[in-house]
């Protein structure tokens, strides 16, 4: 694909590349805002994660849920403020691709965990199995 051909059409006009925040560059200061807010939020959430793992203030089994939520929030901060992923129509393809990836990750991880837990539950433990060898 060459730029001459692309310039002949209003090709894919309005679509944004992932990581691109706008069609034409705004001023440095305007773009900086997004990164500063993202950094501040990410630092806050990271500190919260470390605190949540070590504090006694959260009900024990709830710590896992808290950490998962904070992790997802941090990833979201990165996606929005650093990678400029939005829900606008010019970002549709990027979001769809991301959603597909997340779906696959979910299927692989939860599927593997479920299957392996099931198998481990049904199987003889490995060291016991080795002891059964002639």
């Amino acid at each position: 694909m060459n730029d001459i051909a692309a310039q002949n059409f209003r090709g894919g006009a309005g679509d944004l590349a992932p990581g691109q925040s706008h069609e034409s560059p705004k001023s440095f200061a305007a773009g900086l805002g997004s990164y500063l807010v993202g950094l501040a939020l990410a630092i806050g959430l990271t500190l919260a994660s470390f605190w949540a793992a070590q504090t006694h203030l959260i009900y024990g089994p709830g710590v896992v849920a808290a950490l998962v939520t904070l992790a997802i929030a941090q990833m979201g901060i990165h996606l929005v403020f650093f990678l400029h992923i939005t829900t606008a129509p010019d970002n549709t393809n990027n979001v769809l691709a991301l959603a597909f990836g997340i779906l696959i990750v979910f299927l692989v991880v939860t599927g593997s965990l479920w299957i392996m837990a099931n198998m481990n539950h049904m199987s003889v433990p490995m060291d016991e199995l080795m002891r059964m060898q002639p």
């Binding site: 597909f100 779906l103 696959i104 299927l107 198998m119 490995m126």
Partner: protein, 665 residues
Amino acid sequence: MFGNLTWAAIPFDQPIPLYSAAVVGLMVLAVLAWVVIKGHVPYLWREWITSVDHKRIGAMYCMLALLMLLRGFIDALMMRSQQAVAFHAAGYLPPEHYNQIFSAHGTIMIFFVAMPFMIGLINYVMPLQLGVRDVAFPTFNSVGFWLTAAGALLVNISLVVGEFSRAGWLPYPPLSELQYSPGVGIDYYLWALEISGAGTLISGINLVTTILKTRAPGMSYGRMPIFCWTALASNLLIVAAFPILTATLAMLLLDRYLDFHFFTNAAGGNPMMFVNLIWAWGHPEVYILILPAFGAFSEIVSTFSGKPLFGYRSMVVATMAICVLSFMVWLHHFFTMGAGADVNGIFGIMSMVIAVPTGVKVFNWLFTMYRGRVRFSTAMHWAVGFMVTFVIGGMTGVLLAVPPADFVLHNSLFLVAHFHNMVIGGVLFGAFAAYEYWFPKAFGFKLHERLGKAAFWCWFTGFYVAFVPLYAVGLLGMTRRLQHYDQPEWHPWLLVAAGGALLIFCGIALQATQLIVSIRSRRRLADSTGDIWDGRTLEWATPSPPPLFNFAVMPDVRGEEPYWGMKRKAIEAMQLSAEPSYEAIEIPRNSPTGFVTAFFAFILGFGLIWHIWWLVVLALIGAYATFVVFAWRDETESVIPQEEVARIDRANRAARALALTEMTA
């Protein structure tokens, strides 16, 4: 100095590999010598090896696939003949060799025949169907192809230097761990697949981006040819599934090389995790193979029935449904390995559900043919043969999807017959149909029809004669991968199966003959207009073979069905549309990057297999240097002048105008 590599790596004491390696080696040397002496090297280097043109790369993928089909088929002949004679006898293949043969057969057929052929097909046809000049990343495309070729080379070198894996086409631990497979065989397999897997992933990324981001103006998703939809689904699956293969094989490599304990028996390893992960890749893999074949059949059935595809939208929905569902069934490959009834039941049900979209497709093809004016060309023979064969294979698959039934049939020859039914009946028949259909577009002349039909009948009958006995013998209890056996009930079936393999050999021989005869009669079989089958999609708007830039002016498909609408208008008006205004065209420059990268990848793999560490370091430095040299290029494109573009397009327009007057006269 040379790691573990010694003269003992060459199988001087094993006559069969030694002589076959010698024969193949001599043939390769003879071909190379002929090429060099006749002075073809500059042409080959300039036009093929360094080409970044999707048409050349697609053709090379297909050539690699067909070549490796011969190697894989010879393995099959050896397996069938061994099993035909090894009743109360040792046969002629010792077990260590037989094990390598069935491992090589599966590995080569899946990774170096089926995958390259489908990717090559998509590479060639899809940009033409989308009305664009090339794929999104042409040089990357070349890298992907040559990495696949490097992987194929590594697998084939193992015949001469060292040995191949004996653990089957998917090397389950603990057999594939260092303790039980101390030789280099598994390492050849692993590095060959990591390297070619990288190439495949590159291809996947490239083709997804091309389909989603570069299409002719006006080509919305709803106007995309169905082949491009299936190509999209297949490549999305490549992008999603191949990383899992890369990771899993890497874990096995870490176990073997650095004493990790992912899948070992000791120190808490879990061999079942390998089985789980490898099939999480393995099931999407078979859909990666079949979806392009479905797309090709859709195009072929539509063209040769003279009707648009029935139920285009339901085909698209079915294709994308298959894409997603294929990640939800993988446990059916190991029902017997210890998961509970609830897990088995759910995956069994999902396996039956995934048959539904395929059924939708079969009905759509049948309804496309219904009330059409069907022309039974060779490609159509393959299409109808596919419909029958694939449905039968699918039915045995639904049978196997029932966990209790699978407990009886798992790893028997029934299973072997089932998956060959799908892969041969689906993928291979699709490959051959597409080969017949698009060969004239690629080379400017069609293939000899009668030889093609004869080849089809040999393949079709040969397939059933070879594999129906395997269903029978599987039900009689025969396990797969047996080097010898003592059951008298199995013997007659296996003799018949060997006969079937010979029939298939006749089919292959006829296909080779067809190619030679067609080349020699190419003037008589020539395609003058570029639209030899009265096609419906945009690739038939180009001359055969298409020029480097595909389209002189990018087609604008706003407001009409791609190509078919344009053609109807021209026929109604009895003249072609007005000549477009021609401009110079920029095309990406050829580059040796792909070839050189793959060269270093091959050296890297070889060094890692034999533990020649200095070679590994050298190869890594070479690969990085190649990347830097490529990144430092200033001239990335060359220009085809306007006069050249005009000349080529006017020649094609004249041929089409002539055909138009002959049609209406």
